[in-house]
């Protein structure tokens, strides 16, 4: 699977966030979007995930036969600081709800790996920020999406949390899925096979 980006640019008001970006991403490789704060990493990630439209330019997904396709919701996993889950529901209720919407089955192994199994019936508003981050990561991976987008996945995480992220990345690469990470963190950047710099 390939993601081909051609000359995309994003304009907010009169500010050009980035322009004339072109690159190709392949599945099975870990891609890092790097750049200073405000360089547009999050915006680019959102564009690649189809959440936001680019002002100018094209992007297209191609499968292994070269056929263009548009990824369905259940093929995409997304995690970011500005994406929140339902804090007044428990983790288990959240996961169940999202699975129902996506039309996917509940997969308990990911819950195990996240380390949240014991607290899964607790309301999310009682979680610490690290636990919340793990919950968000879980939201992104629990349906085993072909394409994974992670925006600052390591934020608020302790060492075992970061191990969880590493495991997510490893498994995604192993199954030849696509993985794109937007980050400033050096440790995370070192995981990358391909780096797209935004500054």
């Amino acid at each position: 699977m390939q993601l081909i980006v051609e000359k995309i640019a994003k304009l907010y008001g009169e500010r050009i966030v980035f322009s004339n970006l072109s690159f190709t991403l392949e599945s099975g490789k870990i891609v890092i979007l790097a750049g200073k704060n405000g360089s547009g990493k999050s915006t680019l990630l959102k564009i690649l995930a189809g959440i936001t439209r680019p002002t100018v330019g094209d992007l297209s997904y191609q499968d292994d036969n070269g056929q263009k396709f548009i990824p369905q919701n259940k093929q995409i996993g997304f995690c970011s600081p500005y994406l929140n889950l339902y804090l007044h529901f428990s983790l288990e209720e959240n996961i169940r709800f999202f699975n129902k919407l996506r039309g996917t089955e509940y997969q308990p192994d990911w819950l195990e790996r996240s380390g949240l199994k014991d607290r899964s019936y607790d309301l999310l508003k009682n979680y610490s920020s690290g636990m919340l981050q793990r919950a968000k990561l879980l939201f992104a991976v629990t349906h085993s999406p072909e394409i994974l987008f992670l925006d600052e996945p390591g934020s608020n995480l302790d060492d075992s949390g970061r191990e969880f992220v590493a495991e997510i990345v490893k498994r995604q690469k192993e199954r030849n899925g696509m993985i794109i990470i937007a980050t400033n963190d050096n440790v995370e950047m070192e995981m990358g096979d391909q780096i797209v710099r935004l500054d």
């Binding site: 907010y12 999050s42 915006t43 959102k46 995930a49 959440i51 936001t52 439209r53 919701n73 259940k74 995409i76 997304f78 970011s80 500005y82 994406l83 929140n84 889950l85 339902y86 804090l87 007044h88 529901f89 709800f97 999202f98 129902k100 919407l101 996506r102 039309g103 939201f139």
Partner: protein, 226 residues
């Protein structure tokens, strides 16, 4: 098709559950209706308004109580930043109809409350209760369908209550006018069959607004620039 319906009902279920945990929309609507009916009744000092003014007061109260609560479910998703998660999981249409059903739920709770209140405090009385309730249900449904898209727009505009009311008013005015006219007639002794014109108007409105909302909602929903 089946899966689609299940998804829509998941949204409805989620919103209702959410409402039961944090009663914002329902309490807002019901308190509003209660206060208005009491205030009007008090100001009338025991004089019963009669069919004409009864119909007017009834529908004005329903209108504004609905406007107090219908934007809630969308605004909440924006404020708590859960809209993105929803967006990633399912199509816009599912969200549109799911949220609309939730508003239908709110509107029904309102009707179920305000009809007894109106009987007690405004002396609402009629020979044709079934006709009255049936028509009220349809008109209320029309108000819901007409405003769902607008509620979504309001939420994305980071506006609040006032914006929602302003945007909804012109769109709802036809329903209001027709509802008052038909209700007045029913309270004065007519049956629903005699008010068929109004009922047909209301039903056409529902179908029209449902279709328009379904078509346009995606534009509003997809535009989640931060």
């Amino acid at each position: 098709m089946f899966a689609w319906i299940k998804q829509v009902f998941s949204i409805l279920e989620k919103d209702i559950r959410s409402e039961f945990r944090q009663k914002y929309a329902i309490s807002g609507i019901l308190m509003f209706a209660f206060v208005v009916v009491i205030a009007v009744s008090f100001a009338l000092s025991g004089i019963k308004p009669g069919p004409r003014f009864g119909a007017i007061l009834f529908w004005i109260t329903v209108l504004f109580a609905d406007l107090a609560g219908f934007a809630h479910s969308f605004i909440k998703e924006e404020e708590e930043q859960t809209a993105l998660a929803l967006k990633l999981c399912t199509e816009p249409a599912v969200i549109f109809w799911g949220k609309m059903l939730f508003n239908v739920f709110l509107a029904t709770v309102l009707l179920v409350t305000i009809i007894p209140l109106s009987i007690i405090f405004l002396g609402l009385v009629t020979d044709h209760w079934l006709d009255f309730i049936l028509f009220a249900f349809f008109a209320s449904l029309a108000m819901t369908v007409g405003t769902t898209l607008i509620a979504a727009i309001t939420a994305k505009a980071s506006g609040r209550g006032p914006l929602f009311t302003i945007l909804s008013f012109p769109v709802l005015l036809p329903v209001l006018i027709v509802a008052i006219k038909a209700t007045y007639a029913i309270l004065s002794g007519n049956t629903l069959m005699e008010q068929l014109n109004e009922l047909i108007t209301v039903i056409s409105y529902i179908m029209l607004k449902g279709a328009i909302g379904h078509l346009l909602f995606e534009q509003v929903w997809q535009d989640a620039s931060k």
